[in-house]
Amino acid sequence: MSQFLTPALTGQIINLLAAALLLLSFAMLAQRRILSLINLFAAQGFVLTLSTAFVAWATGQTHLWWSAGLTLALKVLLLPWILHRLIQRLNVKWDVETLLNIPTTMLFGLLLVILAFNLAQPVSALAGTITKGTLGIALAIVLLSFLMMITRSKAVPQVIGFLAMENSLFFAATAATYGMPMVVELGIALDVLVGVIILGVFFFQIRERFDSLDIRHLEKLKEE
């Protein structure tokens, strides 16, 4: 690999990219506007591509280059484009409504990060990759995306939280195991794409029925 890439510097760059991912997740958690949310999601995908490409360069695992390319195509270009078009056609530009206010959500997010770091400590010690320290961050981002999903009351931010969760799982796979086998990754990518398409169709159905994409309309089926 490259001469000036000492092991220490490699580790630091990977740590920096992981920290950037964590920061982006918090930014998504605190974000109020839908358009910025989609752009942050695209930025998250981009940082993910960078980190995968960097690991590919530093460790020589060629299939990670394909992985990075797939991430770029799907999560930085295609999915945000689909989401933007969906927003335009649904004519949705409102502010994200949250169930808790933003500072409280951030506090919960911090607690989840601490939990994730603790949980991941014994596991990351056993991984065999150079990126094992970032497994805690990967798990933290998974939990933060989950928090984002359950504290939002509109449909589109919930979906973006779901996609962010997929992003973080992909990052966890890269951090712990240098990525899953290509066939599995292709399958996952296909699932994500089909999922978003189905959700797009679904949003129109919801909108048609309720004239709004507020999730609280969808809470009538309670236990009798």
């Binding site: 220490a8 920096l16 920061l23 320290g133």
Partner: protein, 319 residues
């Protein structure tokens, strides 16, 4: 502490204090001038704060009837605290006589002391504006102080000591390394400084509208030399915060030993860094809009969260 009293050391320390006191208004003037340039105005000139101070000193100090001794002495106490803070932050060198007292927690305590006194003085007269300003100041302080502490703790964890001098030494001696935790801490620190120094986006230093005043509301009753001291203290506070930021995040150039040559070389480095910092501050103020007052807790909450994140990332990735 002062086990080896040397004239050289003492005079160096005194020089540093005098430099801070004298240069602080210049920094404020520079920030205002940059803001004017960015807003396409011709600006008041970098020496305007000095002229303001001279004007205020020459005027009589008008004090309300119901004012207590606290009201009169508060400006001096606040000024004294700021001078003390400027003395212990390692602006030029790390080996000066006061360096052992440069504890991060003590520093935060001194700043808090100043805040308490000015808030009390604001409420002393009993006007509505004073109380309003004091309450808002306390809210900002209550949220900003933990964030500041955690930023300092993150730096302390890296250097294994809460002494600012040791921190500066450790950080300036490491090889070029990318610390994500310091990046997060830097952003958090910037946000906290903006809040504590009453800059946009938390507070507009040029406004007198009731809806938007915080710092200005507290000093509304002061005039003459009292007001001069308070304005001077405010500019010193900005100076101190900038120097803390430089010490933690850009400590290159600060003299390690106590020799005069190192200190003399540290001066232009400091001036350069402060100039850039002032310009960046003016830039941030120009591109941001002032936030509504009830968004301020969110802003500071974000700063706190970033600071805690910096701590966590340091614990996870860098040990």
């Amino acid at each position: 502490m002062l086990s080896e009293f040397s004239w050289a050391g003492a005079s160096a320390q005194l020089t540093e204090i005098l430099l801070a006191v004298l240069l602080a208004p210049l920094l404020l003037g520079w920030v205002n001038q940059c803001r004017a340039w960015l807003q396409n105005r011709s600006g008041p000139g970098v020496l305007r704060p000095y002229l303001t101070l001279r004007k205020l000193m020459a005027k009589d100090a008008v004090v309300a009837h119901g004012a207590s001794p606290l009201f009169r002495t508060a400006p001096y106490i606040v000024f004294g605290c700021m001078v003390l803070a400027a003395a212990i932050v390692p602006t030029l060198g790390t080996d000066l006589p006061y360096a052992p007292a440069a504890d991060a927690i003590a520093l935060v305590g001194i700043l808090a002391l100043a805040r308490v006194f000015i808030s009390l003085a604001a409420m002393d007269i009993g006007t509505a504006f004073g109380t309003l300003g004091a309450r808002r100041e306390m809210m900002i302080g209550f949220l900003a102080e933990p964030a500041l502490l955690i930023v300092l703790f993150t730096a302390s964890l890296i250097s294994q000591s809460t002494s600012l001098a040791t921190t500066v030494e450790t950080l300036s001696q490491r090889e070029l390394a990318i610390y994500p935790s310091l990046a997060f801490a830097g952003v958090a620190f910037t946000m906290v400084s903006l809040a504590e120094n009453a800059r946009i986006p938390i507070d507009n230093p040029a406004t007198h509208l009731e809806l938007t005043m915080i710092h200005e509301a507290m000093v509304l009753e002061y005039s003459g030399r009292h007001l001069a001291l308070i304005e001077w203290a405010a500019s010193l506070k900005l100076f101190v915060y900038s120097c803390i930021g430089i010490a933690l995040f850009f400590p290159f150039g600060i003299a390690q030993g106590g020799d005069a040559a190192g200190l003399l070389l540290a001066l232009p480095a400091l001036a350069f860094k402060l100039a850039i910092g002032g310009f960046l501050l003016a830039l941030i103020e120009t591109v941001s809009a002032k936030m509504r007052i009830f968004r301020a807790p969110e802003f500071l909450g974000t700063a706190f969260m970033l600071a805690v994140l910096a701590l966590l990332i340091h614990a996870l990735l860098e040990t």
